[in-house]
Amino acid sequence: MNRYPAWLNALVFTLLMVGILVALPNVYGTAPAVQLAQREGVAFDEQRVERVGQVLERADISFEEIYLKDGRIVVRFASLDKTPSAAATQSSSSENSQSVQQNARELLMGRFETDTNVALTEASRMPEWLRNMGLEPMSLGLDLRGGVYVLLEVDMDSAITARLAAYEQDFDARIRAEKIRPRVELDGQQVNVRLRTAEEMERAREIVREADPELIILDGADGKSLRVRMSETQIKARQDFAIEQNMTTLRNRVDQLGVAEPLVQRQGVSRIVVQLPGVQDPNALKNILTATATLEFRMVDTDGTSPGSRRYPGVPGVQGQILKREVIASGDQIVDASAGFSEGSPAVFITLDAVGGERMLANTMANLRKPMSSVFIETKRTPINLPDGTTSYRTVRTEEIINTATINGVFKDSFVTTGLNPVEARDLALLLRAGALAAPVFQIEDRTIGPTLGQDNIDAGFKAVQIGFLAVIAFMAFYYRGFGLVANVALFSNLIFIAALLSLLQASLTLPGIAGIVLTVGMAVDANVLIFERIREELSAGSTVQNAIHSGYEKAFSSIADANVTTLIAAIVLFAFGTGPIKGFAITLSLGIITSMFTSIVGTRAIVNLMFGGRRLDKLPI
């Protein structure tokens, strides 16, 4: 009696060994590192690894390890004895090592700028053989490693308006080409086309239908005008496009900023979540995310006679000008941009695509010795208080001239513009490189944890787990003696299994997640308490030792199962409804419940069976 078959013992043992192996990477801690990723997601090869190593060696930057991982190159620097539990005291040396990391990033960025993004990161110090097995340590949540969580709302109305504005211009041009003179206007979510006669209206209707058969065309009340709207499917498609495009742009921006493991994800209809772990200077970064700055180049209307010309203000210190309606080149034709200095003042060096280059060439040839302006465009959302106490938002586009220069020579796809301060120039260059947002985005939620608080949270969290764990272990050993030790082995294996599962799933461990583990430690002993109390009852009711063990486990089982299933229900509801940190709690709580059922029922039974099973015993150490 009370014997497990050999296969079951072997299974328990094997699972434990696998658990230990998978959890092992967490023991080694992390060290500062840089990660090189090729743009367009192309994988690096061993040759590049060698070259990066040589570049660093030549610059006397010492590193501990360089390797290829998922097509990216990771360079890990000297570690600081920074295990997850003990740190913080080493702030001075960590500053040193951070600067090594920074230097390396700058060096590598300069060297491989054309095709590579270099990001600061933390790399595990686990040995190569573990890494080659594809194992990874737990990933820490933003609240533990520091970082930024931003929820962005995409301004869908402006995405639609922008599309309608394009239709407006298109209709105007097409109808005019038919020698009809319409008045085409953008009016909220529709384009109004006014004509002089009903015949013209019919003709215009055909032209509009030809331009895009999917549009909904309604007759105006006066019989001489049309109201053109986008269909539901078009609106939906446009919104999806705006979100997709924005996500691409945001990813580009984040990559350019050198953030490793960023997360850019759609949430619901109109929202995008951006998570940037381990960021050192969160604020600078967040402003870049939502920035909409772009450039346009227009000729100055020197004699004020061109149709559609209007006055543009200048930024402080720059004179306003009357500019022509025609745009020579705009931000979306810019394929590359970099910040630097030109004749002593901050400048942005711009490269246009082929179409833009051709236009610029034609324009500069036709307009030698005439002035051209660079217009800096920014979209901002300003809130307006409505009379009923709620707030609505209005999107305001500011267009300001940053410089006006006389065209002194013919050029096409590359040129320089000035008129910004160094920070503005750097940010603008980055934004132009990464591409424009298809629709403006606004932060509606922002949770930022500075790196120092992250480290404090880790320290506090691990300390709480340690002390709580030790207290429970001491209590169990004291109260149940031999059986208490068995329960403690189970409790410890439970922690290993939780760590292993978290590492395997790569679910982020958050501070509430640690709280979930702490709670599991407290509750995991419950199953063993139920079993042990039952065994004691059976013994005092006069059962033999073997019977007491057997029925103790047997009878306690249904209570344990019921109790755990109900807690699991609560945990799953939490997971389904919770966001961010709450999800972390739900994950560790559910994992803990599941693993604790295994360790405290099957695990302890295996040990108890091995120690006491099938023997003639008079009493038990319980």
Binding site: D446, T448, L453, A471, V472, E533, T567
Partner: protein
Amino acid sequence: MRLIKEKTNIDFLSRGRRNIAVGFSILIVVVSLVSLSMRGLNLGIDFTGGILLEVGYPQDADLSGIRNKLDVAGFDESIVQAFGNTTDVLVRLGPQPGKDSTEIRDRLFAVLSGGDSRVDLRRVELVSAQVGEELTEQGGLAMIFALTMIFVYVMFRFQWKFAAGAVAALFHDVIVTVGFFSFTQISFDLTVVAAVLAVIGYSLNDTVVAFDRIRENFTKLRGVSAEESMNVSVNEMLARTIITGVTTLVVLIALLTLGGESVGPFSIALIVGIVVGTYSSIYTASATALMLHVNAQDLMPPEIDPDAIDDLP
């Protein structure tokens, strides 16, 4: 070793004791509800929307100086408090309708740091009123959903009178725990909602374990009144109830004292909830079932599938 005598025979559930307990439960629930309606909750910005900054100063923070500076800068509605230690300060500002919140965040930090680069911006939370509303709604939905699912499970595993008892106990626990937060005005944030849900799980765990034993004794102890066999069950489970309660409380106290300031409200919610939950699984749950005249016939046990152990994860 034993904390509790091997066989206790404490009278928990006789009519007299039960009435005292029911009276007490009603009292604390009413007090909680009154406090909730009069004082409300000190809702965190997760629910109200607003801006929260945690700032670390290189030296001890001068709270009244900071308040003055903020007043001068026009942030006279901000709440300033020390956070965890003498150098850390938490500044909270309600939702600012009609203003750009990211700009306010930047201005706030500029005022707080006074341009000193050694001042560390440790944490920023910015929640728009709209997101706050959604989170409130989600939190409420999560509670209702969890309670419903649990009711269904207990009804399925036991019987509706027990399910009613279990859910009554859960309402009791939730109301008293939330009431405690209203009474003490400790900040009620999203993590507290998580803690309350965990309390629901824990308290139910307790209740179900007690019910399991009650069911067993209903079939074992024939010819004994429901009240008596319930009392025996509660006594038999007393050691387990106390030990599990104590180990869980021990780790939670470790979390409260060592886990850092930001898990404080979370730990407090769990501690209060577990104390209340332990009490309610003895009294509220059983007393409700008794008031509904639960009896042995109600509980012809649904067969437990002996293979269930293999099916469990």
